[in-house]
């Protein structure tokens, strides 16, 4: 029974690739069909609308979406790249970008951008920079995500505390967390979960530390450790459930079920939060409280073109269109993610009037781009096994962070050496 699953997984990837790729239609006959790889089914209807608008402008090009579930997206993509059946245009994230760019499987876009005056400057600079490798732009952002403080107004009212606002610091969070924690009802003030994008990175950056700078790890840095301690201290004091409990029911679910009063979470979760009646009624959003400095993490997806595509001209037309105002407007109206094009976010804000979504956009000013290197996954995978004990109330955050820093440095060295 074990063999079957392993083998099944290994077989499925190339099979899927073989089924989905290749038959992209011919350039002859006057019509080009592009394949567009993505993973989020929630965004498919919005993307279809953008494609319809694009096809109206470019009657000789049509675009077909190839949806691969997140769990197998990267494995499938890698396999189909090897087999030459990868989609012409596909979604990219920061974790994987440099690996793809450095391997030469992405089409450089800088020349096209200059020639066609693509409005790159209308997208957040931090985000655009995420998709440049050694001075060359390979991807154009389509949306972005920031991390904000989600809180439960009803629990705040019950404890008689004023709601969080832009003036809040970490001390305010700690005071509130202590007040809000109610062991009898199993309510915790805060969810100090071991989660890199939502909690660890924002806390480290908020403490004035860093994750990655000039090819070196920041985890051994005093201020980074201070940031981690902000989180683990909440667990030690009982204001947050320990990680062992949050592995089984994650912080987000605890916030949904009103068992956690404050939680750092992504803007992309707004739609799901909005669907929970209690949260729609009394869920609140504030900018992240200030530690030593103001910080949040910004990440966004980009559209990239496969270097192996035989329809690069048409593919560029599509990517160029996707980075423009019109496509961004359609995407914002679909309401799933924040479009990265400046000034098109109103539609998203209006789609959930009860939520103060504007906070997510205001945080752009001091948002730190999601840290990444050529083989990001390798050093990211070091984090959870090493930090797990500290986030479970067993202490030792300082030595764990230093070990993590050393191991991450070793991984980074290996990466640049190869």
């Amino acid at each position: 029974m074990r063999r079957r699953t392993l083998l099944g997984g290994a077989l499925a990837a190339p099979l899927l690739a073989a089924c989905s790729g290749g038959g992209g239609g011919s350039e002859g006959g006057g019509r080009t069909t592009l394949s567009y790889g993505m993973w989020d089914p929630a965004q498919a209807p919005g993307m279809e609308k953008i494609i319809a608008a694009f096809e109206k402008e470019h009657p000789r090009i049509s675009v077909r979406i190839e949806l691969t579930p997140w769990a197998s997206y990267w494995t499938t993509l890698k396999t189909s790249m090897r087999g030459g059946t990868a989609p012409d245009v596909f979604w990219m994230n920061a974790v994987n970008f440099q690996l793809y760019a450095s391997s030469g499987v992405l089409e450089p876009l800088s020349g096209h951008i200059k020639a066609d005056a693509t409005p790159v400057d209308r997208h957040p600079e931090a985000l655009v920079r995420l998709y440049a490798y050694r001075g060359t732009q390979y991807g154009l952002p389509k949306d972005f995500d920031t991390v904000g403080l989600w809180y439960n107004k009803a629990l705040f009212d019950k404890a008689g505390i004023a709601y969080p606002d832009a003036s809040w610091t970490w001390d305010d969070v700690r005071d509130a967390a202590a007040e809000l924690t109610n062991p009898r009802e199993r309510v915790h003030g805060f969810a100090a979960e071991m989660d890199r994008q939502g909690k660890i990175y924002p806390a480290v950056c908020g403490a004035g530390g860093y994750i990655l700078r000039d090819g070196r790890s920041g985890f051994g840095d005093e201020r980074s450790i201070e940031g981690l301690r902000f989180l683990t201290d909440m667990v030690d004091r009982g204001w947050s459930p320990p990680q062992s409990a949050m592995t089984e029911s994650v912080g987000r679910v605890r916030y949904w079920s009103e068992k956690v009063a404050m939680n750092y979470d992504l803007s992309a979760m707004a739609g799901q939060m909005y669907a929970v009646p209690a949260l729609k009624d009394h869920g609140g959003i504030a900018v992240l409280p200030k530690g030593r400095r103001r910080a949040t993490i910004i990440h966004g997806l980009a559209n990239v073109i496969s270097a192996k595509s035989r329809k690069k001209e048409a593919a560029w037309e599509f990517v160029h269109f996707m980075a423009g105002r019109r496509a961004a407007g359609i995407q914002a109206e679909a309401g799933v993610t924040i479009s990265s094009y400046e000034g098109t976010q109103d539609a998203w804000l209006k789609s959930m009037p009860e939520f103060d979504l504007k906070n997510f956009i205001d945080m752009q000013e001091y948002a730190v781009p999601y840290p990444s290197s050529e083989n990001t996954a390798v050093w990211e995978n070091l984090q959870y096994p090493l930090l797990g004990a500290a986030f479970s109330g067993k202490g030792g955050v300082e030595s764990a962070a230093r070990t993590l820093g050393e191991q991450m440095d070793r991984a980074l060295k290996e990466e640049s050496g190869s």
Binding site: R2, V378, G388
Partner: protein, 315 residues
């Protein structure tokens, strides 16, 4: 009667002719025999043997994430041996094997109980024990994660009544490996049960009757008749069980979330292989790890074959 009369005949003939110094000529019906084993042979060659050779070759290379590989000699093997997580994973895997083997005595006891004369509903019991084995590991893992859940799990509710403290069974580093091991035993016992029931059925009733006449009790008969005569079956089951436990992956993959603080204490060798090959783009090192695991399994199986002479009774 032999199932393959042709092969048996060829064997007999082969013995005779090799003595005379010439190989036997393939006869027509022998070719037919090869035809019959061809599907299995081809399947084995394509899906096991060829990948095995490839894995061996790849273990000496560094793999590009998008294809292409360069020869780097034994570096991958050096990396495997130097990496502490490999040794930790090996330790975990051996614990799983040790726990997994406990399915055998449980299955033997249940099998001999189910073989008692006059027991009704044997088919039902057999099916009940077998169901966990044919259930998808994903479903098994998810359901057990609910049972083990530290906040709302059934296990804590039951143990709570008995005065045992609440625990997050699969995310506490000191219990996680045993919690998963228990699920392994639970889901494989049925398989061994079927094997042992067949084995017990093969033991002639007269032995028991004779012993009974001589005044041997049920326990005595179990240890002096059933167990020794079951030893060939037990030998087969223990090899299968060991190989399966050493390759364990899916349950752990399903039950252990990425952020589980006990992940280092539960990761198996194959789990580590998966992480290296498919997440961290280190296919070369992963191939070396897989090859070493195969050698380990081969060595342990060989050892079992050597040791069987001391305890396995054939008829």
């Amino acid at each position: 009667m032999s199932v393959f009369p042709a092969t048996a005949a060829a064997k007999a003939k082969g013995r005779g002719t090799t003595a005379a110094g010439s190989r036997p000529r393939p006869r027509k019906n022998q070719r037919a025999a090869y035809l019959f084993i061809a599907p299995l042979g081809i399947g084995f060659a394509v899906f096991y043997f060829w990948p095995l050779l490839q894995t061996f070759a790849f273990s000496f290379t560094e793999f590009g994430a998008f294809g292409g590989h360069t020869f780097i000699g034994g570096d991958n093997y050096a990396r495997v041996i130097k990496d502490v997580t490999v040794w930790q994973a090996l330790g975990n895997t051996l614990i799983y094997s040790a726990i997994g083997l406990t399915a055998l005595p449980i299955a033997i006891v249940v099998a001999s109980l189910l073989n008692r004369r006059g027991l009704r509903g044997v088919a039902l019991y057999r099916a009940l024990y077998f169901v966990p084995f044919v259930t998808l590991p994903v479903a098994v893992g998810l359901v057990w994660n609910w049972l083990y859940n530290g906040d709302y799990g059934l296990l804590n509710e039951v143990l709570g009544r008995l005065g045992v403290d609440r625990n997050h069974w699969v995310s506490d580093p000191s219990t996680a490996v045993y919690a998963i091991g228990a699920v392994m035993v639970w889901s494989t016992t049925g398989y061994y049960l079927i094997i042992f029931m067949a084995g017990i059925k093969g033991i002639p009733r007269d032995y028991h009757e004779a012993a009974e006449l001589d005044g041997a009790g049920a326990l005595r008969r179990f240890f002096t008749i059933t167990l020794p005569l079951l030893s060939p079956t037990l030998f087969f089951a223990s090899i299968i069980c060991m190989i399966n436990s050493l390759q364990t992956f899916d349950l752990i993959y399903i039950m252990m979330a990425e952020k589980n603080p006990a992940i280092g204490d539960t990761q198996s060798i194959v789990g580590l292989f998966y992480k290296w090959a498919f997440i961290e783009n280190a296919q070369g090192a992963a191939a070396a790890l897989a090859f070493l695991l195969m050698l380990l399994i081969a060595a342990l199986t060989f050892l079992q074959f050597r040791l069987q002479k001391r305890w396995v009774h054939y008829g």
